[in-house]
Every structure is written in structure tokens, then in C-alpha cells.
């Protein structure tokens, strides 16, 4: 195996180590609740003898309520039954027999504000979403006994699937479930739909197809519509409308669910302040009105929102605006009177489950944690008999308490998760309630009791909440340990062991031992799994391989410990305080990960550190030949000039200019930041989240934005092309060159066209084009980019060998190219010298038949420029027309930074080999830039901040699988990571490029004899010292992934330390997830970039061999 492939696999190995550590940790940290398979069951309604169930009421109570129906239950004494019920433990519950039917209308993202009626406001003052649901207000005013309106508090995370789970099982959500939003798994936990099924009743469903994923085969009729296309406001709703009325009239169901998506999609697309929202809400209003008019006497209507929305129309987090939904209850029968029962206008979302169960006469689902909403229950006696009403309420409450008690008891027995003291507290409160219930004799007693029950239930809920944020400590510590040890050892390996020593270590038999051991562990774990020794193959594989790898790396380090220690001693002596400062800044930025304020403000913090680093680099920069101190002083004495020329050399002046430019660019990119709710004055920025929601701002503004973006992209492409042309990399007609010449233009035109079509109003758009036709444009872009990247990977060289003719020597084509033959001359000489095949006589003829190759001096950088242009354009398309200009900004900033870094590095190194070594300070700068531009391209580490609309580019919302949209969203979110990681080797190449393209910028170039002689060959020198190139590129890549590894480790540590922190689910856990995903994006990108370096070098080799053969027949 050749040395570069060894390096490549070493990188692969390191990546695997980081990934396994992170995954191990994530398994432990993002843990959740255990799902118990138990189901609640019903006790037959007539436990105590021959109770007849015939009742004129639609709800026939179980007979122990014999006050009302004393004739039929003579044998059962009331006290007996009470004791029976009090002591009843198990998953059996008494249930009412009920003929009541329920129409459950779920209006996605129905915020409480949408429902609340502002009577005082005039029509002109109304926001688009206000006072649109007039029917609810009318009913509330007209029939107060038949209607209820609640604030319906959802549990975070406020994503539809989690909410549906909560709405049907009554359980609390756990964090990790968010990840499964893309692939909806079936719910197997006990839930209200299964309970209905088990009683041989029917359910009809229409609307959001998430339900069908969660509950396949539960419905007798289902009309589901795709939910992911948030740009489509009407398909789902009009589909439901077509079926709703006929279904309501059919009467063979006892639960009808209609899930409307229009309001939510409107929020995502336009936000709540758009006139579309008024239209959607008015539609809903009409719909509710007609449903109210249609339902019969035995039917209750629930209109609920599953979550709210922020002022930008998004949801997913836990802000008040997102969790406060609305619930409206309407019944033809009067409800339990609010004058008697304590009324609260705020209920929890899970409370719906026991309420519905009671109304439908079902056992409460086993894992339910909600408490029944008494005010929403229909009165048995139509409000005439208060006594029986409260008895009924009491029993309902008690069943609820017992169900929850049973669940917690069972759960704690099974998992040991609840803390003992908490459990005993709950038990005590339960015992007290039990004592209490026997002595209830009047309404006042009952009111007291019900408030006690409420506090008891909230106690239980609290206990559960505490525990379901429970972590698997062992896995977490294993993950932390593995990551720490890998970071530490890899740091030692890269920073301590000198490169050549590393190469020696790799070349021996040691590599075979490593590979053998890894294969052996993999097989060993697999066999262990087969014979049931380990229960989780994934975790054991991570762990075993991780441990083994660590032993291997430790062995390498121990073997070369002498080298490490001597190397470090040298480093301490050399006292390079810039890299010290770089490390200090890195550590400071890492410490920031432990503080919630710094995580919130990370964008500011990173730009601060990045600029500090850049300014210090330039400030500390000394031209390579400083004047002796004495002379400075004399000149100063004699010439009281404004400043000392020797201090502010032209180069330093230029660097100051560049660093100012860098600062300005970074400062400008702050206008692309997406702020998060924790920040003060978050609503102010006009750009945030507004992009591609074109109508949020007015049309004119949008157009100017679009033009600006387009001009940016056009400039970007043009400059890239001019650069390549002046490098001589756009000559000839090889596939790589052709696509580099025409590809970007095609892409920009298509992208712009796509954006124009997107910004058209919906009706015009669909009149003019088929949806498919619109999606063709992005597909053209994807295809061109794919072809371009593939060509670049397999045919990386964009050079042109001039066919040998006499007159070709005097072709002074573009700018610099005329020096290339000269360069090649030298290089060829060198080749001959190396291979020792050169004949002495051949040298004379060299001047005549030297082949001319265009673009050889920038052969490495041109490839990366090409790749970068295409990746940037891809990312720009995904970012949408508003944010795309941020990519151009990022590109410019990174180039300015690159110039600064490479100029400094060039001046600092005395001989060529030193130029290959990229110092820590540069890597840290590049890393800061990468992480900073995550924010600079308009993202934050919050889930509502994810730009889901990227998934629609080119797919139009029709997905056969979830891989493509996930990939697109990922590319959008980690745009900076992708672009800057793929172009990482440019850090190594840039000093050479800079010297070839701008020799005047580096004035000392002419003075240094050895260096400049080497440097004249441009980037070919990289090829000549290919071994050094491979080695240093490897070290560069490792340093870079180490930067992210350390950050990841610190995020993990912060999440561990703060796992009981108030903000953990809001700040630290999202930060951890985003950082982890970022790392997972960086690792393959870095590998690709290394692959590119390998590809270029091998191709140059092949080319030169061919040329050599041609020129020496």
C-alpha cells in the first residue's frame, strides 16, 4: 500500500473514532422513556350483580351510582363498591358505557391567539389572524353551558408527530423522538385509538398522513394526504372538506378525526401576519360552523390545535407562543357546570386523553399522565341533578388517579428510574387521597378533593418529567472517555511526533497488526453478538473497536515517546507565542460552550475571536528581515518622519488593509445572522427567516434582494472564471475545463430562473407551469454540479498541453502563462536528474522541444477553486434567494483570510519545507471561520431555525424516501462546514499560489535565493515533494478534524455537566446535536479533500510520465 493511502486510511480511522465516541454518548444522553406494552382493560360494567345497562340517557352510568338509578341496582350497596374501587389495583378500570360520539378536529398550529376574540378592536386594526374564528365566539356567547374554550398547553418539542403521540397516548414526549420525525414509526404503546378498536367501535380519519404512519390499520375509512409539502396550503384541507360532511352523517363511527394542515403550512410559508392566514382561518371558521350545524345530539365536537407558532410561523421549541394552542369544546348536551366545578382556562395537552376516554366510555390508556378535564365532560342529567353530576366527576377523577398510580408503580418496578423519595412522596399523597375520598359527602368536600387530586397529579407529572430526562450514565461516560482519549492521543500523534517519524511507524509491520486487530475485534464482537454475549451490537462494536484503537495509538505514542518529548522541548524553546495565543483563544471559545449565554451568543463570540486572531497575526507580523534595532533609532532621531518606513513595509501595510477588509466582511455577515428567541430584540432583523417567504416583506423589497443576490452570484462566477483564465486553467477542451468554463454560468441562470418562478404567486405559477416544469431547473443544476464534481474527482487536472509545433513557443496567451514553459523546463530538468536517465546531450535541445503546458503552476489550487465554485453554487441554490449572497460573502472572507495567512506563512518560513507546515494558528483561524459561517449563513443551533424549505428545492415536496430531503436540509444547514472543509488543503497550497500569481505582493521573494528558486515553479513544487505534501496535508486534515473533535468533546462535557440545568433541552442539547451533525459533515468532507490531493498528484505523475515519453523518443 502506498503511503498516501495509508494516510487516507489513518484519517478514516480517526474519523471513525470520533464518530463512535459521539454516537456512544448520544445513545446515553438522548435516551428516553421505556415503552411498556401493557394495555388498560375494562371491568365489565356490571360487577356487582345484574345491573341493567339500559338507560334512556346516552351515557349509562355504572350502577353503583345508585342515587340516580336506584331501582336497578338494589343489590349493590354503595360503600362496598367504593372500597372495591379504592383498593383496586391493576390495569383494569371501570368504564362507563357510552354512546357519545366525538368529532375531533385538529387544526395544526391553531394558536390560542387565533381563537381569542378581541371585541374592542375595529376591523382595520385587526391583524390578519385576529377575530377570524367568529363561530367560536358566537357559540361561547350564545351557549355558555354547551361550550368551553381552553388554553391548551402542549409539551415541547412542538413538532406534529410528538404532539400526536401525546394526544393519543397521554404520555410525555422525550427529546430524542424528534429525530424520528422523518420516518414515522407505528405507536405500540397503549393509546386511545386502540382502546376504541378493542371495544369494537370504529374510527374514521381524514387529513395529515402522519396519523396513518403512526396508526396503520386502525381506521375503517381513512382519507390521508401528504403532510410534508408545506408550500401547499389547500390540498389537505379541501380533501378533508370533501369527505367531512358525508362522514359525519354516516353514524357508524364513534370517533372522527379530521386533521387540517392549512394553517400550519400557511404559518411556515407566509407567517401569521399574511393575508393568506386570514383566508385559511376564515375557511376553518366556515368549516366549524357547518360541523356544528351538522352534528347530532349524541356527538361532541372538539376543536384543538396541536401546537402554536412563533411570530415567524415556525414551531418545534418550547416558547410560550409555540406551546399555547387552543381547545374548543362543543356539545349539544350541557357540560358539567363551571359554576360548581372549579374552572381553569388552561389545560395540558395530555389532559385530552382521559377526557376523551371518559366521554367515549373507554379505559384510560395505560401510560396516560393527563388528568381528566371535568368541565369538558357532558353532564349526565343535563345539568339538573348536581349531586349525581359530582359523583360522576368524582369517580372519573378517581379512576384517573388510580390509572396513573398503577402506571407509575409498574414503571418504577420495571425500570427503577424514579427516585425512592419521590416515589414515597407520591405514595403518601395517594394514601391521603384514599383516606379522603371516603369522607366526601358534600359538594364542598368534592371541590376540595378535586383540587387535591390536581396537585397530586401534577406531582406525579413532575416526577415523570424529571425522570424522562434521565440519561444512561455508563454510555455517556464511555462516550466521553472514548472521545477524550482519541482527541488526546491524536493530538499527541500529530503535534508531538515529527512527520517523518510517523511515516516510519506506519511503514513497518505495525500497520498489519493494526488492521488485523481491527478486523479481529469486528469479528469478535459479531460472534459475541451471535451467541448472545452482548445485547447491543452497535454499542459493543463502537466500544470494542474504540478501546482497541486507543491501545494501538498509545503503543505508537509510547514507541516514539523520545521523539515527542524532544520535539516538545524544541517547541518550548522556540516560544512561538502566536500559536500559544491561538490555543488560548481556542480554549476560551471552548469554555464558552459551558455557559448558556455564550452558546446563545456564539456567533458574536466566534467573530470576536476570529478577528482577534487575525489582528494579532498581522500585528505581530514582522517582515522577514527586520532592521537592526540600533539603526531604527538613529533614523528616527534624524528623520522625524510621520512613521518609520522599516516598520510599516508595503507588505505589512497591505496586510493591515486585508485584515481591515476581513473585519468589514465578517461584520457585514452579521446581517445574515438568524437570531434566537433568547436574544433580546430578536424580532428586529428583517432578513431572518424571511427569505423565500417572499411575501413577508413587500414585493419591491424582495425584488431588490433578489437582484442583489443575483449580482453577487454573477460576480462570484465571473471572478472565479477570470482567476482560472489568468492561471491558464481554462485552455483547451478537456471535459474538466469545458465544464469549468460553462457549468457555473448555466447553474447561475437556472438558479435565478428557479427563484423567479418560486417568487411568483401561487395561482399564476400553476396556471403557467406544471409543478414538474418548475422542478426541472434545480434538477439541471444538480446534474451539472454532480457531473462537474465527478469529473473533477476523476479527471482533476484542468491543464492544456500545447501540441508541439514550432510557432507555439511564441504564443504569449493569457497573463502569466508565458512563464510556464520556463517553469516546465526547470521541472523537467529536475525530473531527469532524479531519474538519471537524462543524456548529457539532451540538455542542448531542451530549449526547442519543451512541451508547453498551460496552468501547471496552479494545478492544485485550480482544482480546489473549481470544486469550491460548484459546491458554493449548490449551497447557494439551497439557501434560497435571500441568503445565497452570504455564501459569496463567506467565499470572499475565506479568500481574504487565506491571503493573510499564506503571506504571513510565506514570510515566516526560511526554506521551502517549512512552507508545507501549516501552523496551528492558521488551522484554528480556518476552524473559527467554519464555525462562524455556520451562523453567518443564517443558521442557529435551534430546531425552529432549521430551514426546511431547502428540502423542496428540486423535489417539490414529493418524497419517495426521506434521504434526499434530509440530505438537502443538511447541506443547507452545514453549508459553511461543507465548503470550508472541502477546500481545506488550500491552506497548504495557498502560499505557492500567492507567490506565482502575485509575486509583487511578497517583496522579499527576490532576495531569498533558495526559497525563491523553489518557489518559481509554483505549485509544481508540491508535486516534486509529494511525500512531504501527503504528510503535511494529512497533518493539516488531522489538526482540522481535531479542532472539531475538541469542540464536540466540550459540547458533550457541557451537556453532561448541565444535564439537570434548566436550559439543557433548550440550549445545550440542540447545541450538542448541531455540533455533532457538523462534525459528521466535516469528517467526510475532509476525507474527500484529501482524496482530491491524492488524485491530483497521481494525475500529474501520469501526465509528466507521458510528456517525458513523448519528448524523449
Amino acid at each position: 500500500m502506498e503511503i498516501h493511502w495509508k494516510y487516507f486510511f489513518l484519517l478514516l480511522w480517526f474519523s471513525y473514532l470520533f464518530m463512535s465516541g459521539v454516537l456512544l454518548f448520544a445513545r446515553g444522553f438522548l435516551l428516553n422513556r421505556e415503552v411498556l406494552p401493557h394495555k388498560s382493560r375494562c371491568i365489565p360494567a356490571n360487577v356487582c350483580g345484574n345491573t341493567s345497562r339500559t338507560n334512556s340517557n346516552n351515557i349509562s352510568l355504572q350502577s353503583e351510582n345508585n342515587e340516580g338509578f336506584s331501582t336497578q341496582s338494589g343489590q349493590c350497596r354503595q360503600e362496598e363498591l367504593w372500597t372495591e374501587k379504592i383498593d383496586m389495583i391493576g390495569d383494569q378500570q371501570t368504564c362507563w358505557l357510552s354512546r357519545t360520539k366525538v368529532v375531533l378536529i385538529v387544526i395544526d398550529a391553531l394558536k390560542f391567539d387565533f381563537v381569542y376574540f378581541h371585541e374592542k378592536l375595529q376591523d382595520q386594526e385587526l391583524l390578519p389572524y385576529q377575530n377570524k374564528l367568529k363561530v367560536i365566539n358566537d357559540l361561547l356567547a350564545k351557549e355558555p353551558d354547551h361550550t368551553r374554550l381552553f388554553k391548551f398547553i402542549a409539551d415541547p418539542p412542538t413538532t406534529t408527530m410528538q404532539r400526536l403521540k401525546g394526544l393519543t397516548t397521554g404520555s410525555l414526549p422525550t427529546f430524542v423522538d424528534i429525530g424520528s420525525n422523518f420516518a414515522t414509526p407505528e405507536i405500540n404503546e397503549d393509546n386511545i385509538l386502540d382502546q376504541i378498536k378493542s371495544q369494537n367501535k370504529n374510527i374514521v380519519f381524514m387529513g395529515d398522513d402522519t396519523w396513518s404512519g403512526l396508526y396503520p390499520k386502525r381506521f375503517i375509512r381513512e382519507y390521508s394526504y401528504p403532510s410534508f409539502n408545506v408550500w401547499d396550503l389547500d390540498t389537505v384541507d379541501s380533501g378533508i372538506m370533501n369527505h367531512l360532511m358525508p362522514e359525519i352523517l354516516k353514524k357508524d363511527w364513534s370517533l372522527l378525526i379530521a386533521h387540517f394542515l392549512g394553517v400550519d403550512h400557511c404559518g411556515h410559508r407566509y407567517g401569521p401576519y399574511h393575508s393568506e392566514m386570514a383566508r385559511k382561518l376564515s375557511e376553518m371558521n366556515d368549516m366549524i360552523r357547518s360541523v356544528v350545524d351538522t352534528v347530532d345530539n349524541h356527538t361532541m365536537l372538539f376543536v384543538i390545535g396541536d401546537h402554536g407558532m412563533t411570530s415567524t410561523g415556525d414551531h418545534g421549541g418550547d416558547s410560550d407562543a409555540e406551546v399555547t394552542a387552543a381547545m374548543f369544546v362543543f356539545s349539544r348536551k350541557p357540560l358539567l357546570s363551571t359554576e360548581i366545578f372549579p374552572h381553569s382556562d388552561t389545560v395540558n395537552q395530555v389532559d385530552l386523553v382521559p377526557t376523551l376516554s371518559t366521554i367515549l366510555g373507554l379505559p384510560i390508556p395505560y401510560a396516560n399522565l393527563g388528568s381528566v378535564i371535568l368541565e369538558a365532560l357532558p353532564s349526565l342529567t343535563e345539568g339538573k341533578d348536581i349531586l349525581s353530576d359530582w359523583k360522576f366527576a368524582l369517580e372519573t377523577l378517581w379512576i384517573n388517579v388510580q390509572q396513573i398510580m398503577e402506571y407509575t408503580r409498574h414503571y418504577s418496578k420495571k425500570t427503577n428510574q424514579f427516585s425512592q423519595e419521590r416515589l414515597s412522596l407520591v405514595q403518601m399523597s395517594y394514601t391521603m387521597l384514599k383516606e379522603n375520598i371516603k369522607s366526601i359527602s358534600s359538594l364542598e368536600d368534592f371541590v376540595n378533593f378535586s383540587s387535591r387530586v390536581k396537585s397530586h397529579l401534577s406531582l406525579v407529572r413532575q416526577m415523570c418529567e424529571e425522570v424522562w430526562v434521565q440519561f444512561d450514565a455508563v454510555l455517556m461516560y464511555n462516550g466521553l472517555l472514548l472521545t477524550f482519549v482519541s482527541v488526546f492521543f491524536i493530538f499527541l500523534l500529530v503535534d508531538g511526533v515529527p512527520g517523518d517519524q510517523l511515516k516510519e511507524t506506519l511503514s513497518g509491520t505495525f500497520q498489519y497488526i493494526i488492521i488485523g486487530c481491527l478486523v479481529f475485534t469486528a469479528f469478535g464482537t459479531f460472534i459475541c453478538y451471535l451467541i448472545n454475549l452482548g445485547n447491543n451490537i452497535e454499542i459493543s462494536l463502537y466500544f470494542a473497536a474504540g478501546i482497541l484503537s486507543m491501545i494501538m495509538v498509545a503503543l505508537i505514542i509510547i514507541r516514539s515517546w523520545a521523539a515527542i518529548s524532544s520535539h516538545w522541548q524544541n517547541q518550548v524553546k522556540s516560544n512561538d507565542w502566536l500559536s500559544v495565543i491561538g490555543r488560548v483563544l481556542l480554549i476560551l471559545s471552548l469554555c464558552g460552550l459551558f455557559s448558556n449565554s455564550y452558546v446563545v451568543e456564539e456567533a458574536t463570540v466566534l467573530s470576536y475571536f476570529l478577528l482577534t486572531m487575525a489582528w494579532l497575526l498581522v500585528y505581530n507580523f514582522k517582515p522577514s528581515k527586520p532592521e537592526p534595532a540600533g539603526r531604527v533609532k538613529t533614523s528616527e532621531r534624524q528623520l522625524p518622519s510621520w512613521f518609520n518606513k522599516t516598520l510599516l513595509t508595503p507588505l505589512k501595510f497591505k496586510l493591515f488593509m486585508f485584515v481591515t477588509l476581513l473585519s468589514v466582511l465578517v461584520r457585514l455577515s452579521q446581517y445574515y445572522w438568524l437570531c434566537r428567541e433568547e436574544q433580546i430584540g430578536c424580532e428586529s432583523s428583517a432578513l431572518h427567516k424571511a427569505h423565500s417567504f417572499a411575501s413577508l416583506v413587500n414585493m419591491r423589497y424582495c425584488n431588490s434582494q433578489w437582484f442583489f443576490t443575483l449580482i453577487c452570484l454573477a460576480l462570484f462566477v465571473t471572478v472565479g472564471r477570470i482567476w482560472l483564465r489568468s492561471c491558464g486553467n481554462l485552455v483547451g477542451f478537456s471535459p474538466t475545463v469545458t465544464i469549468a468554463r460553462y457549468g457555473p454560468t448555466i447553474i447561475v441562470v437556472c438558479t435565478a430562473g428557479f427563484w423567479v418562478l418560486q417568487s411568483l404567486p401561487n395561482d399564476t405559477k400553476y396556471k403557467l407551469f406544471l409543478p414538474l416544469q418548475i422542478q426541472i431547473l434545480p434538477w439541471i443544476v444538480y446534474t451539472v454540479i454532480f457531473v462537474a464534481l465527478m469529473t473533477t474527482l476523476f479527471q482533476p487536472l484542468s491543464i492544456f498541453v500545447v501540441p508541439r509545433r514550432k510557432d507555439s513557443m511564441i504564443l504569449p496567451v493569457y497573463g502569466q502563462t508565458n512563464i510556464i514553459p520556463h517553469l516546465f523546463n526547470q521541472m523537467k530538468e529536475l525530473m531527469r536528474g532524479r531519474s538519471k536517465s537524462g543524456v548529457a546531450g539532451g540538455d542542448d535541445s531542451l530549449g526547442k522541444d519543451v512541451p508547453i503546458v498551460y496552468g501547471l503552476a496552479t494545478v492544485y489550487s485550480s482544482v480546489f477553486v473549481n470544486v469550491c465554485v460548484f459546491v458554493c453554487l449548490l449551497v447557494a441554490l439551497l439557501l434560497g434567494d435571500t441568503m445565497a449572497s452570504s455564501v459569496v460573502l463567506m467565499y470572499t472572507t475565506s479568500i481574504v483570510l487565506l491571503i493573510i495567512l499564506s503571506a504571513i506563512q510565506y514570510e515566516k518560513s526560511f526554506y521551502t519545507a517549512q512552507l508545507f507546515k501549516v501552523p496551528w494558528s492558521s488551522v484554528i483561524c480556518w476552524g473559527f471561520l467554519t464555525v462562524y459561517f455556520f451562523y453567518g449563513t443564517g443558521h442557529t443551533t435551534t430546531f425552529p431555525g432549521i430551514q426546511w424549505e431547502a428540502a423542496f428545492v428540486g423535489t417539490g415536496g414529493q418524497f419517495s424516501n426521506h434521504v434526499v430531503p434530509a440530505l438537502l436540509v443538511c447541506l443547507n444547514t452545514f453549508a459553511a462546514h461543507v465548503v470550508l472543509s472541502v477546500t481545506l488543503p488550500v491552506l497548504l497550497v495557498a502560499p505557492f499560489t500567492l507567490h506565482v500569481m502575485f509575486p509583487k505582493m511578497l517583496p522579499s521573494a527576490d532576495k531569498d535565493s533558495i526559497k525563491s528558486k523553489d518557489m518559481k515553479r509554483g505549485e509544481l513544487i508540491l508535486y516534486e515533494k509529494a511525500d512531504l505534501l501527503y504528510q503535511e496535508a494529512f497533518i493539516l486534515c488531522t489538526k482540522y478534524i481535531l479542532f472539531f473533535g475538541i469542540r464536540m468533546f466540550m459540547c458533550m462535557l457541557a451537556a453532561t455537566v448541565h444535564c439537570r440545568h434548566l436550559m439543557v433541552w433548550k440550549i445545550f442539547a440542540p447545541k450538542l446535536i448541531f455540533e455533532g451533525l457538523g462534525l459528521f459533515v466535516v469528517l467526510p468532507c475532509v476525507l474527500v479533500s484529501y482524496l482530491l490531493v491524492i488524485q491530483i498528484t497521481t494525475h500529474i505523475k501520469a501526465l509528466l510520465l507521458r510528456l517525458d515519453k513523448e519528448s524523449s523518443p
Binding site: V600, S607, Y608, L611, T612, P640, S641, L647, Q670, E678
Partner: protein, 228 residues
């Protein structure tokens, strides 16, 4: 007996740092215990800056007087420390030097202002605050440099020339560095969500700068005093 120039410098620096270490804590305490602390970012803070200005100038004048007296006694003096007064001593050259210095100070205020904005201060609001911070920084860094070393050397110092073995130059350089470092470090408390009044821009940065300046003088004194 002759006094060597080096010792002269040490004495001068001891005097300077001692002076600063006496008057600066007083200023800090006075600011801290009055309402001035929260008005660092307002124009009403100018009196305090004026006090610092006057104190720095008088420090310099007294220092030069001492050196002159010493040197007249011993018959020789080191003119390095008397940049302004020795150069032909004419009012014309003094005036020239003064204009130069004030131009530099004004330029540096602009520079500090823009650097603060580039590093994240708000562009469209809080001009007053940012401006006051730049003025304060100038009074603490560029003004003493101009005073003690003359305008041109001050420029050189700003662009990163290390003053050779000149003790006064070292003092100035170190105080510039530590002042700026203090201002840089002060920004660290701004993002914290403690909601304190002193987290308002530019109070932490200004306080950091002032503390850095004091620390620089203190350190220099500790360094120099044993060598006397």
C-alpha cells in the same frame, strides 16, 4: 558623581508609575462610588477624562523637571527623555509637535471607534458610548505615548516597534498593551445574561481598560523599584 542615563530612566519610571499608582486608584474609587460609573458611556463622563488628562500631563511635566534638575546638578542629562523640551526648545517646534500629537490622537479616536464597531459594537446606535470608549482608550494609550515620546515615536510604537532598552518606552508600550488587553477582556462579560447595569456597553470594556492601565503601571513599578 554622575548619574547614568539608565538609572535616570529608572528613577523617572519609578516616579511615573508611583504617581499613577497613587492618583489612578483614587480616580477609580471616585468613579466607582459615584454615579459616574454608570455614565462611562455618556458625554457627562468628560470631566473624569479631563482629570486623567490633566494628571497625565502634570505627571510628565513634573517628571521632566526632576530630570532637568538632576541633570543640571550632574552636568549631563539624557535627552532621550526630554523629546519635546530639548529640541531647540523653541515654541515653534513645540507647537508643531503639539499639532502633530493632536492629529494623531484624533485619528486614533477614529481608529479605535471603527475597530470597536468591527469587533461587534453596534453601528447604527450607541454612537455616544462607542465614542466615549475610544476617547478613554486614547487618553490612556496614545496620549501618554505622544507626551513622553513625541508624535513620531508614538506612531512607531503603535505599529509594533519594540522600544529598545528604553525604560520609559517599555512602560508606555506595556501600558498600551495591557490597556487594550483589558478592554478586550472586558467584553467577555457583555453577553452574560445576568442583567446587571454594569454589563451595558461600554462599561465593561472601559473598566477593563482602566484596570489594565493600572495593572501595567503597578507591574512596571514592581519591576523597576528593585533596580534603583
Amino acid at each position: 558623581m554622575c548619574i547614568s542615563p539608565v538609572e535616570d530612566g529608572h528613577k523617572l519610571v519609578t516616579f511615573y508609575t508611583g504617581f499613577t499608582c497613587v492618583y489612578f486608584p483614587i480616580v477609580i474609587c471616585a468613579v466607582y462610588f459615584t454615579e459616574y460609573f454608570y455614565s462611562i458611556g455618556k458625554y457627562s463622563f468628560f470631566p473624569v477624562i479631563g482629570v486623567i488628562f490633566v494628571a497625565e500631563s502634570s505627571k510628565y511635566l513634573i517628571g521632566t523637571c526632576i530630570v532637568k534638575r538632576n541633570s543640571t546638578g550632574s552636568g549631563r542629562y539624557d535627552e532621550r527623555y526630554l523629546t519635546v523640551s530639548t529640541k531647540k526648545n523653541s515654541t515653534k517646534s513645540r507647537l508643531k509637535e503639539g499639532i502633530k500629537s493632536s492629529v494623531i490622537i484624533v485619528i486614533m479616536i477614529v481608529v479605535y471607534f471603527s475597530v470597536a464597531v468591527l469587533f461587534g459594537a453596534e453601528v447604527f446606535s450607541k454612537h455616544e458610548e462607542t465614542f466615549m470608549l475610544s476617547v478613554l482608550l486614547c487618553v490612556l494609550t496614545v496620549f501618554p505615548a505622544c507626551l513622553h515620546m513625541g508624535a513620531s515615536s508614538a506612531i512607531n510604537l503603535i505599529f509594533g516597534q519594540k522600544p529598545s532598552n528604553d525604560v520609559v518606552g517599555t512602560l508606555i508600550l506595556r501600558s498600551i498593551q495591557l490597556t487594550l488587553f483589558g478592554a478586550w477582556l472586558g467584553a467577555f462579560v457583555i453577553p452574560l445574561d445576568w442583567d446587571r447595569a454594569w454589563q451595558e456597553w461600554p462599561i465593561p470594556c472601559a473598566s477593563g481598560a482602566v484596570l489594565g492601565f493600572t495593572a501595567a503601571n503597578l507591574l512596571m513599578m514592581i519591576n523597576v523599584v528593585p533596580k534603583l
